[in-house]
């Protein structure tokens, strides 16, 4: 590891610490109906949208009505996107004349983008028309992110709500999230990316003849507008097959940092939004602190592991030490302009959150390095986590920690003055356990059956890691991949790349939907159960949820519940590989 590498990591995180109270405070104003400066410009537009979509936003929704709106909006989104992706031959903005991918890939893709996952069983530049990328994928990159934030805000309202069962109005939260939070940052961010070299064009793919007379072809497209929201909305689905490693998506060291600032800014700021809305900023910083500890451990382990290099490199005789003019380390599947530190940081951030964008090949990470994204996912995506989803799952963990802490000291568990009872704990436990359950059962099915095993690319433990990661990633709505998994059939030029493997497409698609919407429903049910509960004043006997002791307890619960569930699986895949120099 180099000093310079660490300076990069520290500067990045310092910026996040600085952004958090500012953006978090702004979002708190947006969701408590206070005046924000953008309302002067966008207010009439916002009210116009309510009229067009016929939403009566003055009416508060209880948790069931809020949940019904979320589910109906998602269903409508699914249907429209499926229609768009299956009619590519009719599209405008399809200069390469791409046909649609078959039904099985499309089923997986649509579910994937709807659930803020962006798992991709296709190569973007060999499959998707520009219209599909814009009107299909980009739209869900915005609104799936907005749905996550809405659910988190509804949960906060449930936690603080003292009179009545109302959690706010979904349609208002949705429109305000898009207009006042996501879209302004996306517009500015897209232009920053283009100014640094990301592309934004609707033209044909390019053909060129290089200096030696060799012909080449180059995919282009409206990349920056999608790239920015892919990161800001913790979506992660690349315009191109190689995602954030592609120079047109992520052209230099600065964009590399800018893109992960986009990734972390909303999830980190939401902790501050939470603090403000519950009336105690310390509550927000406590969550932020727990997330920070887990982030730092992850990035340090990944960085150190990749600096060390792989057994395959060493067996081939390659020397992996750093020296003047060479990054050293495991550069298999990494880009020169990012090096080891820039790759370790980027990929820790995108797997802490449910982004899943990658700037390096996960399948080629070292054994121990590959364990970091897995462990990050295994926490249930709460290390800042997805936009909204990170906060709401973290708050489920807080409930659990409060409950366990209460049991240990023999007091009735309370959260911010509200009694936590059997109903909330049951709902929270279900909300947390759905994801590991889905991931582990699917992995077992895919390993046990030939139809699952055909998707494996690498031999030995790495093949298991690929399978496990595929279902872990889809269940956690992350979307990053050990991309050898089914990767060998894609991409090929000329749109023959989008063959489906029906088993992988369908099982993954089921995981995506189930592990997204079941927790959302449990979270909203918890919110509904907490809303309207009487608040008792804090006394000497109240267990605090904003001090270092609680932060340690919270991290302990997350590791106990989240990570240990997966320990046997981690043992069979990455841990075996990091303990041996054996080649398979």
């Amino acid at each position: 590891m180099t000093l310079q590498g660490w300076v990069q990591i520290v500067v990045f995180f310092a910026i996040i610490v600085a952004i958090t109270p500012v953006l978090g405070g702004y979002m708190a104003r947006v969701y408590t109906g206070q005046h924000v400066f953008l309302a002067r410009v966008l207010g009439p537009f916002e009210r116009g949208i309510y009229r067009v979509i016929r939403a009566d936003v003055r009416r508060e929704q209880d948790w069931k009505a809020y949940a019904a709106s979320v589910m109906l909006f998602s269903l409508a989104g699914w249907l429209l996107m499926y229609l768009i992706l299956r009619t590519q031959t009719l599209h405008p903005f399809n200069p390469e004349g791409f046909h649609s991918a078959p039904w099985n890939v499309t089923f997986n893709t649509v579910t994937s983008f709807l659930t803020n996952t962006n798992w991709q069983y296709y190569g973007g530049e060999t499959t998707m028309s520009y219209f599909s990328q814009m009107a299909g994928l980009t739209v869900q990159n915005f609104v799936s992110a907005a749905v996550g934030i809405c659910v988190a805000v509804a949960l906060i309202r449930g936690i603080i709500g003292r009179n009545g069962k109302g959690l706010g109005n979904f349609w208002q939260d949705l429109v305000r999230t898009v207009l006042y939070v996501l879209l302004p940052i996306a517009v500015l961010g897209a232009l920053v990316l283009v100014s640094q070299g990301a592309i934004q064009t609707l033209g044909h793919y390019l053909s060129f003849t290089g200096p030696t007379g060799l012909e080449g072809h180059m995919a282009v497209g409206p990349v920056a507008s999608q790239e920015v929201i892919k990161n800001l909305g913790t979506n992660g689905g690349g315009f191109f097959n190689t995602n954030g490693a592609h120079p047109f998506e992520n052209p230099n060291g600065l964009t590399n940092i800018f893109e992960i600032l986009l990734v972390f800014c909303i999830p980190a700021s939401l902790t501050a939004t939470y603090g403000r809305m519950v009336g105690s900023r310390r509550q927000g910083w406590a969550l932020f602190a727990a997330m920070t500890v887990m982030f730092v451990v992850g990035v340090a382990v990944l960085y150190a592991a990749e600096v060390h290099g792989t057994p395959a490199q060493h067996a081939a005789g390659l020397h992996t030490q750093v020296y003047s003019g060479s990054t050293g380390g495991n550069m298999e599947g990494k880009e020169q302009r990012f090096g080891i530190a820039g790759s370790a940081l980027f990929n820790t951030v995108t797997t802490d959150t449910s982004t899943g964008a990658v700037n390096a090949a996960f399948d080629s990470l070292t054994g121990l390095g590959g364990a970091v994204p897995m462990a990050n996912l295994a926490t249930g995506e709460v290390i800042f986590g997805g936009v909204g989803s990170g906060l709401y799952v973290m708050l489920l963990y807080v409930l659990l920690a409060v409950f366990i802490g209460g049991l240990m000291v023999g007091r009735t568990p309370e959260m911010l003055g509200k009694k936590i009872e059997a109903r909330e704990i049951k709902l929270a436990s279900l909300g947390i356990l759905i994801t590991p359950l889905t991931a582990l059962i699917s992995t077992a099915l895919a390993i046990a059956d030939h139809a699952g095993r055909v998707s494996i690319f690498n031999k030995g433990p790495q093949g298991f890691s690929e399978t496990f990661y595929a279902y872990l990633s889809q269940s956690n709505n992350n979307g990053s991949a050990f991309a050898g998994y089914t990767g060998f059939i894609q991409p090929n030029a000329g749109n023959v790349g989008s063959h489906g493997i029906t088993f992988a497409d369908l099982l993954g698609g089921f995981d995506l939907a189930f592990a997204r919407y079941a927790p959302i429903l449990f979270v909203l049910a918890v919110a509904g159960s907490l809303a309207g509960k009487r608040v008792s004043p804090a006394g000497l006997g109240t267990m605090r949820t904003d001090n270092p002791t609680f932060v340690v307890l919270l991290i302990g619960v997350i590791i106990l519940v989240g990570a240990l569930t997966f320990f046997p699986a981690l043992l069979v895949g990455p841990i075996v590989q990091s303990l041996t120099g054996h080649l398979y």
Binding site: L72, V139, V143, S195, E332
Partner: protein, 219 residues
């Protein structure tokens, strides 16, 4: 709201969002980018004598087709090429053919896999065969990692400075240019860390090769 009323709102909402975020927003960004940053927005195209030779930020092969008995050799429909020793070479690439910017892919080679060792060993061997004759001190121990490991995108436009300095011996000898002059060009086309902090320095291979062509008239 009742369920049917809610469903109508849901359908209208997704249509409004699709028009706003899926059509208006990307087209607006395209319009602004094309006016404000036309070079970047179109991919930093590089022209020589009016002909497109590539993009500054997309790696490409500097190779020539292998010809046997007057016919180009193909392997599974893909023309076989051999590196053109007059030019600096980009990093190993897993795309088909190598450096294919129309269908990018990772190598996905695992850390503990025999196939990975074989691939890396083959890359080292090829690198030594190409460069060792011109740089007698070169051995496996000092092959830089970026020269033996495949890039992530398959179209990495850059190589490390160490990699470029080794290849400089070959290029200088073949083009009959003093080594110091080639090393000077390398530092001209080295991009440092962004703001001095972010990322790693790298040498842009296309720009460097074109500068060499300008210097020696393509020979």
């Amino acid at each position: 709201m009742s369920i049917p009323r809610n469903a109508l709102t849901a359908a209208l909402a997704i249509i409004v969002m699709t028009v706003l975020l899926g059509v208006v927003y990307p087209l607006a960004i395209t319009g602004i980018s094309q006016v404000a940053f036309p070079g970047n927005a179109n991919g930093q195209k590089v022209y020589v004598n009016g002909k497109l030779v590539g993009s500054k930020i997309i790696g490409q092969q500097f190779a020539t087709p292998v010809v046997k008995n007057g016919k180009p050799v193909e392997e599974e429909g893909v023309p076989v090429t051999t590196p053109d020793p007059r030019y600096f070479q980009t990093r190993p690439s897993a795309t088909v053919p190598p450096d294919n910017a129309a269908a990018t892919t990772f190598s996905n080679l695992g850390p503990n896999n025999k196939s990975t060792e074989e691939e890396i060993a083959a890359n080292i061997k090829a690198y030594l065969e190409l460069n060792a004759p011109y740089d007698p001190g070169l051995s496996t121990a000092n092959v830089p990692v970026d020269a033996a490991d495949s890039s992530a995108s398959g179209i990495d436009p850059e190589i490390s400075q160490a990699n470029a300095r080794i290849q400089a011996h070959r290029v200088a000898a073949i083009r009959h240019v003093p080594l110091t002059q080639v090393l000077g060009l390398i530092s001209n086309y080295t991009t440092g860390r962004s703001l001095g902090i972010f990322g790693e320095p790298g040498v842009d291979v296309l720009e460097l090769n074109l500068a060499l062509d300008r210097l020696t008239g393509g020979h």
